[in-house]
Subunit: 293 residues, 4 copies
């Protein structure tokens, strides 16, 4: 079985490496020759073009930066959906938006292709370790077909529901991540200003009703979690500007369903202030610097 | 060893019951005769007055509704601190504020009494089960003296630091609880509006970076956690108006240390809107009703 | 000189009436036959189609509900821009967004047509009275050509700058209107809760540093300004859902320039909460109901 | 008629100068000898003590920094209220809070003294020019007695209602000033980021529904209003930290009446962030620096 893989960025490359390590033939495409060359070194086949890739693959995976790029690769006349084999499985792992996912999958259905949205969580580390979570939207049959392929790259493959559900679940999770990061920063800084030792406070929170993934594993107060970005000068991790993108996608989706999201909205604005001050490429935990003495 | 216990409300009464069950002699005081009578049925001794209680107890525990009541019971001339035995241990389990705790403990020190602040988490259920968490502020020596007594009522007894640290830790935890409750409500309602099944979404969040105590054990979306207040018409649990009180104490403490708390502040205002609409006595998870279709 | 007018809604119809009253020949188009018939009664000529209108008019005015409709009318192959006379003046009076305006005007320039963005303020009353403000973006030459036409419908015709500037100015003004409406509501309700007479408070604000257009002419507290929507059960005026649209356009524009807008963002969310409670068609001043006892 | 004046700060001194210029005998008290000496140069009489002042004055004016200082000067046993002449008129011009004003005036009534709250707006410039606005709370009779005295220092003397109403009106006005300052900053910076000339945008806003005192006379965008603090490096004017104090008093008053104030609350937090970054002594218009490119 041959897999076509489009998008060899920070996430895409280690995902391809894991597919190769699991015995799949992988034909790759990227606008960067260097990225392609690196994948070839690991055993990938070069696609001459998107059309070449589309026509020869049994399953196609995309890992692209924005909904607009997803549409331009998959949906244009003469694009990947149009050229893919009949009944080909197309899995879009990009973080996109539910509306785009619904439209792409409808277009696929008309063309006789099975399209799924399957955004990931787990970051670059999870991609390297093959421990990503995939949140999959689309038909149950499609999901069952995709599961074994995705298992080569992740350990938690969840069917969220119909087309767009994977993107919806991702946005719902990430808005919580965004709000939690600000809230834990506020809590830790208030505690420190009142004389509490940050380590002691974190320990109390982590055994109480305020505990969360951020307070436990990604605490934004420097020094509390040794291998978190906050203890490494906010390097690596999840860039503030990417969080702004995800929160914006969540707010746009909410606008579409007329859903109020006041906390999400404030957290986006705080990250925007941080980015405005020149820290958009730092990890999201750098928001703690807005509150810390 | 005799313990004096002041304040036999929803929390105080089961705490007394656990002290009695662990073999302590407990002399009780409350402004409600009915509350006193009920404690006596369980084996408590009636205090004739606060002075009577203060003069005969080896250790005194207070569980009172506001910082102002704490001051009026403990600090006034002729009050409990003035009348307590030399070197008596006075443990204030009320949720108060760090500044009040610091002042009460300084007053105690001058009078030769050991005062600790030891607010709890775990709610009425934890009080009944004897599984409360105590966040203790005050001297290390005082903490060691208090630990065995508190162990009769809780299972997690943490020394947070100097006087006021217990209150500070409680406020820092509870602001996270408040923000999380709103944020999980926003996330769950956005997901539902986009067609996700609430149970599926909760499961995804709870294995991802958005997970928190609220999403796991206290999910505000009705039906997701069977024994949570949200699945019981928002009855029981932690009343919205009490959360407003705790968030206000946190914001006041932050005002004192000139600490910005934007998310905390917005969450207080949202609970205030909910209370303004007549739902101040419902559980905090009722905030989900502001967002749910 | 013949003017083609596309879009005969609440705003468009009285604008056409004023053009006719000032002696212009006006050819009209709308998807509603009733709207067209009403304009004809006032002396307008019926356009057989958009193409008919585009080919016969010397100047074309559009008054359409969304940026997407503007694009579909003006920009599609075979649309109004493509069919308009060489050097025709096309004035888009719709509230759109700066990016759309820039793109439409660039497309017009390529086709040899002069396009301006000229959104209005003043509402239906201003449209009827011919006292609208037009905020015009585009070339200075285009502005000078448009000025006499627009003067038939308004009294304040301002050149804001290059293409898109009219839309930008409109959004910047309307976000202030949105925030002010909420803020005056908070202020008036706080005052009332503290025992102030609303009329007295409004009078004090209106001679102090808190005064604004909303407090003076559009006070959201019922009874303070006799002919404001708030004194008429929040009927008429500027619908909450339209304000949500304008605030969203402002937030989207800000997202594009990476501009933080925290207050704007919170005001949008509060109007969204109001709409969510079923009041989206009421005047924006109905936000006062969220705060009023 | 002799007036006792307590508090000779930036506001108090020019107020005394205007009383003297209008022919009043003024006995002054301040903890700063230098401040007293300066007033004496202008013709004031030195009070030997607060008691001396209280016993000899027919009317007493206080201009003090916080509610706590007001209480300590007026309300303590042996304080100014206790020592003032029977039926003396005591006018508190400090910015305090409604609750303090109610309590002080009740205490005065018991002692047979007429107390009014009469906070001002107009700043140091208004104090020098004798053009302050006085917002007066207390009995109608007291107001009529005070009016001629206050007219020596201001031009707009408004009776707001019963005791505390002056403070309430001041807080309601100042929260609008705080919110407007942030909102105009957002609007101006969004406009600038979209290519609008700040002067042009301000002009459009000032003739549209977004206009307010801040946009017209105190525009936070540097250069737009030539003599505003924003055009003078944010020096002078109304210090950010004082605005934080006023917004806190408003939020505390709202907490007392269970009034939600979401926008006010967010504006306080944004000023707190500004202060946290080291700009607490700059004029409130410095908030524009958080948004400006």
């Amino acid at each position: 079985m041959e897999i076509g893989f489009i998008g060899l960025g920070h996430m895409g490359f280690p995902m391809v490496a894991n597919l190769l390590a699991n015995g799949y033939a992988v034909r790759v495409y990227d606008t960067s020759d260097a990225a392609v060359a690196k994948a070839v070194e690991h055993g990938a086949i070069v696609a001459q073009s998107l059309i070449d890739l589309a026509q020869s693959a049994d399953a196609i995976i995309t890992m692209l930066p924005t909904p607009a790029v997803v549409r331009s690769v998959l949906c244009v006349p003469g694009g990947v959906i149009a050229n893919a084999k009949q009944n080909a499985l197309i899995i879009d792992c990009s973080t996109s938006d539910p509306q785009t996912a619904v439209e792409v999958e409808a277009l696929g259905a008309v063309a006789g292709k099975i399209v799924l949205d399957a955004p990931v969580s787990g970051g670059v580390q999870g991609a390297k370790a093959g421990t990503l979570t995939f949140m999959v939207g689309g038909s149950k049959d499609g999901f069952l077909l995709a599961k074994s392929i995705l298992s080569a790259m992740g350990k938690n493959i969840v069917h969220c529901g119909a087309a767009g559900s994977g993107q919806a679940a991702k946005l719902c999770n990430n808005l919580l991540l965004g709000v939690s990061t600000v809230a834990v920063s506020e809590s830790m800084c208030l505690g420190a200003s009142l004389g509490l030792e940050p380590e002691v406070l974190a320990q109390i929170i982590n055994t109480s009703s305020g505990r969360c993934w951020v307070s436990e594993l990604y605490n934004p107060y420097p020094g509390v979690v040794k291998d978190a970005p906050a203890s490494n000068n906010f390097a690596g991790g999840f860039a503030c500007d990417l969080m702004i993108k995800d929160l914006s996608l969540a707010l746009d989706a909410a606008h579409g369903t007329r859903q109020p999201l006041p906390m999400t909205s404030v957290s986006k604005q705080l990250f925007q202030l941080l980015s405005h001050q020149g820290h958009g490429d730092k990890d999201i935990s750098a928001i703690v610097e807005m509150f810390k003495k």
